[in-house]
Subunit: 393 residues, 2 copies
């Protein structure tokens, strides 16, 4: 049994950047991870442009009556040079005409007669955005490793990157073991239970940015299990096994893992729930034996598998994975040898309240949970208002 | 000019739950919003089952040698009744045989001879999960309005809900106005600029749970703009317009909105950036005139449009939309009449640092931003360590 932080370190040191880049349409890249920098193909602004609606003129002429020589809408190049005593009516975003070095805001002007205006404001400002002030041609607009959000799509649009290179999704095999399992569409017979864990893992893999490959419920025999695990390793970057990691007679998975040359790095973690979690590697592939209970499996995926998927994608995460929030009620436990993982609900005041929870098989308890709190080893009691480490689910 | 909180209230009071439910495969329902409660079709556990690997026996017999009468793997019904002095070897998750009222953990037993074991532990616990202890048949497992996360997929799997009813995605039209705009794949000619805003909005609509319908760049004439807006209203639940809401000659959108019978509820908000934001309604449809600058548009979507989409979906959000985090550096500004929206980066210590920012057209500045901080009206200066309201992007 090793501490959680050590388990996380072992997994992160074992994992590599495993995926190759692929090009996708920029709108489809939402949520993907950039595999290469995105550079600008132009200067931004591409020309000196006005930040306001108004009249472009020479700053030196601002306090005299001005002749309006043309109207410059956004999207059209000016046709005239601005000379002394002249100005051009100009719309926000339009190009500053040659000769002008400021724009008088339309609100600060009055029309004197047809084609003549005067400034009525107090002080003259430039109101010009200079060529290349935001970004210069060939500058890096977005860095490799960025997880693409809507504002990154805007940046891609601005620099003409309509086919960004993103990391291919790592292939993650999901194998469920246990003769008692049936698929969700089947009404369980006596002694059977639906496979909730396997489908939860499919959804977790999708959300983490991986590509799930569901191998279904593996027949509970040594040969069938060995064959399925071998195939899963051959075809995927990571393999997730659920069930089959406790001490029962039918739980031969650890034996098979050894036979397949999988080096086991740990087989239990000092957490509650989720202690019987196995991690091994073979040929650069990561193999996780996750607990059979959906709640344990949910948390162990979040703590161990998700970071490995993000690393395989080359993601440079910026948002912290845990936040410190105050407890909304007191918390007590008896045994303190392990770090406790508690499903909690963060309320709209930002307070953390544990959900009512029968144990790691009690998946229904976490319908309303939106985060998991980490209670350190040795801590038996916390008061309302004490801060705890919380990971959003 | 109205305060931001009032603008948000007006939008939220105007918006209705507009979408109809549709059935989807449960794995595909990830990220969607439940349109109906999900009930359990069974008791969970469906039978009294063991929480551990061990020997099922009568608690009264625990301290005597026991005869092993059968082996009960998970998934198979017991075939024998446990009588006095007897036990059955049993695997985690398997059904408790009739007669037994506890399970001795395998770690707390020893084999005496073939088919005979003895308890070596200190105290006997039940180790039984009772029928219906987690959920009872017809109980509500997931409530309407839940945004579906991986742990909800596990719950659906457990209760056999493979075709949940989710809210259809609200249809959101996106119209860009401005003759200076060209699409991202085109190299802008003199005086032109790429349409980053429209594509950012497409991505924001997708992320918020809506279905974007991009109308492209509308020709900058009154007739074309009127026709496009009328079509967008007819075919969609919401319409987003970008550009065309400041004071230039070619900015006739407010006039067209009035002609189309759109009731304007506000046309500016006391925020910086994002002041020229228009909101109107017609026939229960919501019409947003968003600022032409991508940074302003990004924030105004987040504050006004996203909540309207979530309401249309019937989502009961549980996670707070803002969190209070400490500033990592001091912050100053000159004008304080408006609430300031500042793009910030939350670092791995949970500190908030404003990103370097030229103004609302400076989309490149926010490549590394992962949140927006709200600095209240009247506040000119904040110190390192002061807490600010932050919304993750």
């Amino acid at each position: 049994m090793i501490p959680l932080h050590q388990a996380i370190s072992i997994v992160m040191e074992s994992g590599n950047r495993t995926t190759t880049p692929e090009k996708v349409d920029f709108i489809q890249s939402l949520g993907r991870v950039l595999a290469a920098n995105v550079s600008s193909d132009l200067n931004m602004p591409p020309f000196n442009k006005t930040a306001v609606d108004g009249y472009a003129c020479r700053m030196a002429d601002a306090y005299q009556e001005l002749e309006v020589v043309e109207v410059i809408p956004a999207g059209k190049a000016p046709s005239k040079v601005i000379n002394q005593g002249q100005c051009a009516k100009i719309m926000t975003g339009a190009m500053i005409p040659q000769g002008a070095d400021c724009v008088l805001m339309v609100e600060d002007t009055k029309e004197i007669s047809e084609n003549r205006i005067a400034f009525t404001g107090k002080s003259v400002k430039s109101n010009i955005c200079l060529l290349g002030e935001d970004i210069k041609k060939n500058d890096i607009a977005l860095t490799k490793g960025t997880t693409i959000e809507p504002h990154h799509i805007a940046i891609m649009a601005a620099v003409g990157c309509t086919q960004p290179e993103v990391s291919a999704k790592p292939r993650v095999a999901i194998l469920s073991t246990g003769d008692e399992l049936v698929e969700p569409s089947i009404a369980p017979a006596m002694g059977q239970i639906r496979n909730s864990n396997g489908h939860q893992l499919i959804a977790q893999v999708i959300k983490a940015g991986g590509e799930p490959h569901y191998f279904g419920i593996i027949e509970d025999s040594e040969d069938a299990t060995r064959a399925a695990i071998a195939k899963a390793i051959a075809e995927n970057d990571m393999v997730l096994l659920t069930g089959g990691v406790s001490m029962g007679d039918f739980d031969f998975v650890p034996k098979i893992m050894a036979e397949l040359g999988i080096k086991i790095h740990f087989d239990s973690i000092a957490v509650q729930p989720g202690k019987p979690t196995t991690f091994g590697t073979v040929n650069g592939k990561l193999i996780f034996g996750l607990p059979g209970n959906p709640v344990s499996s949910l948390f162990q995926f979040d703590l161990l598998v998700k970071p490995a998927i993000r690393k395989a994608l080359g993601a440079s995460e910026t948002t912290p994975s845990t936040v410190k929030l105050p407890l909304g009620s007191c918390y007590k436990r008896k045994k303190t040898e392990r770090l406790a993982l508690i499903p909690v609900e963060i309320n709209d005041k930002g307070e953390v309240n544990p959900v009512n929870f029968n144990g790691s098989a009690h998946i229904f308890a976490i319908a309303n949970a939106n985060a998991v709190a980490l209670i350190p080893q040795g801590v038996a009691e916390l008061q309302k208002g004490d801060f705890v480490d919380v990971r959003p689910l």
